[in-house]
């Protein structure tokens, strides 16, 4: 309603302004043309020799077939010498012309008439009054005014109606959006705004809002999914922990029994903390600001340390861990994170590889790239599961211990370091590949 009123008021104001401008211009232009004619008369009679002036004047009046001209030649005492005006006006205001009543001598039945006149001095001391009857002019201006009013009234009405209608429509559209946002605030993300087949700019805005809602709904879905995953993953060890403590309280008799219960409870808690810690680290790795503290890393040293750290545990499980390390350029990175990623890959090989097998860790150049690869003698991740294994909590085999965050973490560390996580087409090799930066600007 307010919209409509404002719009109507604006249109009305515009119409009135237009009419006013037209009126002022028409009026002004008419006055200028009269003044021009009066000035011409003054000049003409001033140039005419004194003795011929009355004759010329009578001549001019005879030629005025519209009978709307006033001319009068007066001597220094103000007595009429020749013309159709009885007397001079009592006072002469300054300016090019003025409006005054004159006394026509040749118009039948008219003693006084309104005219725009001027009085100019002739070289011989006589004075000339020149004027134009305003009756016709007034008539013409009245006509203009009437036509303006006639045009203005329907214009105003139309402006009001259009303003109200357009305002109503805009208000209705805004109301639709507002009602939708209210429903969204109330929790319903499924609602969408109607969009016409050929949308105007408001329709395009609605389409954008719909697209934004699609994205929002998708993100909320993902967050809910991750939340559900976390809840589910944590519930299992929590349930086990609860059962263990319950049974311990019921059955344990000796301090040794209690110690055993609390030991296993602590182990369960550690698993839980491990899950929470890994999730926090994954989130943290997604935040690339961490790159700011990258330092040069010697991958050869790092892989050597990883092998040194894992060789005993591999041997204890009857596995052989071999390391082939070729010199590679120094990279920028975070040594602890890279170590964590590489040891996760080795952990997977130990867990999923066949018994008494060989685990091969290698570092070297693969064409133009640095490659770190870990392979066991097993089948590796089945190709169908490869897109899944880097998702949180995905576990390829439930018969192996773990919480399913290892490869997500490897992937996150790789992303942070600009490396790619690749699975070999054949066999079990998992690699981190660093494309060397020097190959990018070839033109340099």
């Amino acid at each position: 309603m307010r919209w409509g009123g404002a719009l109507a008021a604006m249109l009305v104001l515009q119409s009135i302004a237009l009419a006013a401008v037209f009126w002022v211009l028409a009026n002004g232009s008419h006055r200028r043309s009269i003044e021009h004619a009066l000035a011409d008369d003054c000049t003409f009679f001033a140039l005419t020799p004194g003795e011929e002036r009355p004759e010329e004047l009578r001549e001019k009046l005879t030629r005025d077939i519209h009978r709307d001209r006033f001319l009068g030649l007066f001597d220094a005492q103000g007595r009429l010498i020749a013309g159709n005006v009885g007397r001079l006006p009592p006072s002469v205001p300054p300016g090019a012309s003025f409006v005054a009543d004159v006394a026509p001598t040749e118009l039948p039945g008219k003693r006084s008439d309104q005219a725009r006149i001027t009085v100019c001095a002739m070289p011989d001391g006589t004075r000339l009054l020149a004027g134009v009857d305003l009756d016709d002019t007034e008539e013409a201006l009245r006509l203009v005014w009437r036509s303006l009013l006639l045009g203005l009234a329907p214009g105003l009405a139309m402006a009001l109606i259009f303003g109200l209608v357009a305002g109503r429509r805009a208000a209705r559209q805004v109301d639709t959006v507002r009602q939708l946002t209210e429903r969204i605030i109330a929790g319903d993300l499924g609602e969408r705004l109607p969009v016409a087949a050929r949308p105007d700019s408001f329709g395009l805005l609605c389409a954008d809002i719909n697209a934004m809602l699609d994205r929002l709904q998708q993100l909320v879905g993902e967050v809910r999914g991750v939340g559900d995953d976390i809840a589910h993953q944590i519930r299992t060890p929590l349930t086990r922990l609860r059962a263990r403590l319950d049974r311990g309280l019921r059955d344990a008799r000796t301090p040794g029994d209690f110690a055993a219960v609390s030991d296993s409870a602590l182990a369960d808690v550690d698993v839980l903390l491990g899950i929470v810690g890994a999730l926090l680290r994954l989130r943290e790795l997604g935040d690339h600001a961490r790159r700011s503290r990258f330092a040069p890393v010697e991958l050869a040293q790092l892989i050597d340390d990883a092998c040194d750290l894992y060789r005993p545990i591999a041997e204890d499980r009857g596995l052989t861990l071999t390391c082939a390390i070729a010199p590679v350029p120094v990279i920028e990175g975070d040594a602890s994170l890279l170590m964590e990623a590489v040891t996760n890959m080795i952990d997977n090989a130990i867990k999923y590889g066949p018994p008494r097998g060989v685990i091969r860790v290698s570092l070297g150049m693969a064409g133009e790239a640095i490659g770190v690869s870990v392979a066991d003698e097993g089948e590796g991740v089945p190709p169908a599961e490869r897109p899944l294994v880097t998702q949180r909590f995905y576990r390829a085999r439930s018969d192996v211990a773990g919480v399913g965050l290892g490869l997500s973490l490897v992937k996150a560390v790789a992303d942070l370091h600009g490396a790619q996580l690749r699975f070999a087409d054949q066999g079990s090799a998992v690699s981190l590949i660093w494309p060397l930066r020097t190959e990018a600007p070839r033109s340099a």
């Binding site: 929470v276 503290r293 545990i313 040594a335 040891t343 290892g406």
Partner: protein, 227 residues
Amino acid sequence: MAVTHILLIEDDDGTADEILLELATAGHAATRTATLRDGDPLARGGDIDLMILDRQLPDGEGLALLADLRRDGVRTPALVLSALGSLDDRVRGLKAGGDDYLAKPFALVELVARVEALLRRPNDTRDTRLIAGPIDLDLLAGRGMRAGRPLELLPRELKLLEYLVRRQGRIVTRSMLLQDVWGYSFEPNSNVVDVHMGRLRRKVDIDGEAQLIRNVRGQGYVFDLPA
């Protein structure tokens, strides 16, 4: 053992109570404040041997206080705690003048082990010959002996033993070993450190000898001479 006095600045009551209990069990007297404003004068008081400082406190950032103290010449060792469990924060914590950094959640034994490590830092790490009871380590030659018996240690095992011997009688945790002996700070998925320690123990303590390296259940390892 002289009683040490520890200042704990931690706003969470539950966490603070646990830490205070654990410190008391380990024989340390501790004072706790919940805000930087209350902790500041105590930290400058001079009778504090070590401070444990949380990062996010109601009246500001613990590291800011630490940086202030260090600028004013207060050299009391500081262990920084944080719920922001990132290595970034670790680096910032150490830069601000922290001597060690623990990310929450941490095991209380880890906290106490690190507190004790800070209270009694190894005095001369440049010694190339270490003798502790029957153990005789020649770090320059990379050899170790126990009562005249050569220990046949791999280089990493020698470093592990050196680390333990220098911290005689104190618990060292797995993450301390990983961080200080290998130089990486992360939580491995497997018990890799235990496997290394198992091998070292089998070389150092053979049948019939007194056990010098003990596994403290759920906590870590201690090198100790028999009483």
